[in-house]
């Protein structure tokens, strides 16, 4: 008589059931494995204690073992610990680690030298981080003490200072000041730029010394398309000059191509140019919501499918994300007037102003607490 076998998930594999389906998170590889009906039915019988009977679920179990999501045992009572690197809820009140954030976003201006057709001064979110002309709810320009902000950020364990616009290079002096401060406090600066304004020697030197990075936001690989969409001449030529100049100085450059219906076949993007120069490329998309004339109709279905935008998780972030919204809890953003936000895209919820609030005070703000509790 053959021994009865049971399947149990590995400690780093978590079965999660939601209202629209179920999946297994592999916290080692970061994979999220969506389960079809056959698997979901089988997992209705799965329990931490009993596992799954091999006899009753032969096909499903074989596939799960094949995918290395669990193991077979003849002892159904074996207990499998979670590979959970977060603090247990029981100890959270006692061992509450300090509030920390990794990134601070500084929008040094909301002005831009380009006039992209799809970019307006509203606050609607149509894509992820990058340049955008945001409207401002505040009047007048506040003087901002960047030294104080960066010193506070350092104390909160910030690693990267991400400088945004509009176009940040329109504010050369501010930018220079911030880069000097990054150097002083040993933080890594990252600048988003459209690449049409050359970096000064001082900026380049500061970027080199602080191991900084420039992210060039790109649309096209030719001046003609740029003229049509930005109203400016020689944008592509200027971008190339800027990129070459930065690369010559050994400064890390990344390209971010914004995809809309104007370039969604990728034929008129600079992807090959960047590949030839060994420049890493990421893509961002103009989203279909709110309704607009620029998102890619061809990609609409993919853009609306949240599965295409899932981020990978591991044994620390999976448990952390269950408690805290992973994005908001890892950053703060400050606009050109000093208003503080949980995210550079979330302009409707001001959490305070750097002239009246310490960054640390934001963590006790009710809006902030609500935002970070928007956990999945």
């Amino acid at each position: 008589m053959t021994e009865k076998k049971f399947f149990k998930l590995h400690g780093h594999c978590k079965f999660v059931e939601g209202s629209n389906g179920a999946c297994i998170y592999n916290l080692m590889s970061g994979d999220i494995i969506e389960l079809n009906d056959k698997f979901q039915n089988a997992f209705e019988q799965y329990s931490e204690k009993q596992g799954l009977s091999m006899t009753d679920n032969f096909e499903v179990v074989n596939e799960l073992v094949e995918a290395n999501l669990g193991f077979l045992t003849t002892q159904n009572n074996i207990y499998v610990d979670e590979v959970n690197f977060s603090i247990s809820p029981m100890f959270e009140p006692v061992l509450a680690p300090n509030y920390t954030i990794s990134n601070i976003f500084l929008e040094v201006t909301n002005e831009c030298n380009l006039n992209c057709l799809f970019c307006s001064g509203d606050n609607m979110i149509i894509r992820s981080t990058g340049c955008k002309k945001y409207g401002s709810n505040t009047t007048g320009i506040n003087e901002i003490d960047y030294e104080s902000i960066i010193e506070q950020a350092k104390m909160l364990n910030v690693e990267r200072v991400i400088i945004l616009g509009g176009e940040p290079l329109l504010e050369m002096k501010k930018l220079e000041n911030i880069l000097k401060l990054c150097l002083k406090f040993e933080l890594t600066p990252v600048i988003y730029s459209n690449g049409t304004i050359l970096f000064t020697d001082v900026l380049k030197e500061l970027l080199t010394k602080s191991n900084g990075e420039v992210i060039i936001q790109s649309l096209f690989n030719n001046d003609k398309d740029y003229v049509r969409y930005t109203g400016e001449n020689r944008v592509w030529q200027k971008q190339k000059e800027t990129i070459d100049d930065l690369l010559n100085k050994g400064i890390k450059v990344t390209a971010m191509i914004l995809i809309g219906r104007f370039n969604d076949t990728m034929e008129n993007t600079a992807i090959h140019y960047f590949a030839d120069k060994k420049i890493p490329v990421t893509t961002q998309y103009i989203m279909p919501y709110p309704e607009n004339d620029f998102y890619s109709i061809r990609l609409k279905e993919d853009l609306l499918d949240r599965r295409n935008f899932l981020s990978r998780v591991n044994s620390l972030t999976f448990y952390k994300n269950k408690k805290q919204q992973f994005c908001f809890s890892n950053m703060l953003a400050i606009d050109h007037n000093g208003d503080i936000f949980a995210c550079p895209l979330l302009r409707d919820f001001s959490l305070g102003n750097v002239n009246t609030h310490k960054l640390r005070e934001i963590f006790d703000n009710d809006i902030y607490l609500n935002l970070i509790s928007l956990s999945k």
Partner: protein, 505 residues
Amino acid sequence: MDNYFVFETINNNKYIFDNNTGFVMPFTDIDEYIICNFEQLDRTTMYLNLKEIFNISEKEFNNRYSIIENYRTMGIWINKREPKYITKDQYFKKLMDYPASQLILIVTNECNMRCKYCIYSEMYPNTITYSSKKMDFQVAKRAIEYYMELHKKKVLQGYRKAPLITFYGGEPLLEYKLIKKIVQYIKNNYENEVEYYITTNGLLMNEEVSEFFLKNKFRVTLSLDGDKLNHDRNRVTKDLKGTHKIIMKNLTKYFEMHNAMNKEMQPMLSFNCCFDDYSSANAIIDFFNNNSLLRDKEFYVFFSQINPYGDTKYYDYCDECAKQGIIKSNKNTWRMEMQQIHDEFLEKIKLGKKVSMPEKSLFASYYFFRNRGISQMPNTCNSCIPGSKIAVNAEGDFFICERMVERFPIGNINSGLDWSFIKPLFEQFFEIVESNCSDCKVSKMCQLCFMHLSFGKEDKLEFNKRFCETTKNQLKELISNMYSILEINPDAFKEENLYDREKIF
């Protein structure tokens, strides 16, 4: 050196405990081979050997190997420790990041009781004794100013919790007027919400004091050794009279006052219950479970074995009392009764039955272990670091802990935390850990702290062999017991609210 150990449950299942991170995994002979030979053999050789020994398929080997390889990248099964040294800058950074902060004001060394096991008593000939030293308000004020400044710095670095000020003695309520003055001073001078905590013997906890505690949301730990017999055996007044009756009377008033003031909120009360070999565990548990005053109340009990370490005559005194018939129980009473209570407790947990809070308190180590963090152990082990707590004596000297007062200073109200005092303490601590704990397979779970090393005669930290041996044995047994239970009830000990430690510490 291997930094893990293999244990078996009652069902003969094998598990491996990783001492670097605290992670436990079911364990097969194949896993054992891969883990043990990971650094010695290349992958192909390992596979060929395993194929020969266990007839393992390549797919199965690759699956197991990749898991072990990945777990190792997370620090599991590798002997990786933080360096055993700390610079001044690293210390102050660590202090800022440390998730606790507390100022302990030893407001007096005087006590209105003469507990037999008190560290100030003649049972501990080599430690300090009772004295009339009292804290002056100015000393308290300077200590508070220093502490609040330190707390402010911590907050700017992301610290989450409110300042916590603890009153300790001797018997702190002998200085009730000073305590009131301090609380008022804080109210007048600081905007922060400050939390207060007091450990008291309860003799002076009259209506006025109870009202003051409740109004100011004091967390109170009351020393009460359970039933009258066990309590009155040791906890006596200066004229050797038992104190159980008066404390229960004061406790009644406290609860009445609480009911009158705020019925909605549970009182923030816990008990400190000391026991020795002769104590009846049954009687103590029965008291906390069934006493009419305590029934239906939420409270935690800190069960503390009367300190057997260091140079104490207390246990000889107990033996003598037993010989003379003053103590009626025998030397095995606690051990034997505990064995039975322990078995019954595990049986209830196994079956998912309800257990009382005092029982949970008594076996808190199961809950601590079950809810342990999986992470690399810091070089200071599980100990507080000097300065995370600051205990201040009447002269304004700073000490690591309220249980280490008058020895091992770490600064004072004038100079603040003083690295020149703290550095040698760290060095001694690291040296002891390096020499004695490097090959320990359960050090991740050990509660060793500076206090455990402070019982030597010299003014130097000293390895505590007895603590070490007892802890090692207890932890290994506890781990095996716990996984035997988890195999039957995977939800066992998974309490999110064993008690609100926030309210206690």
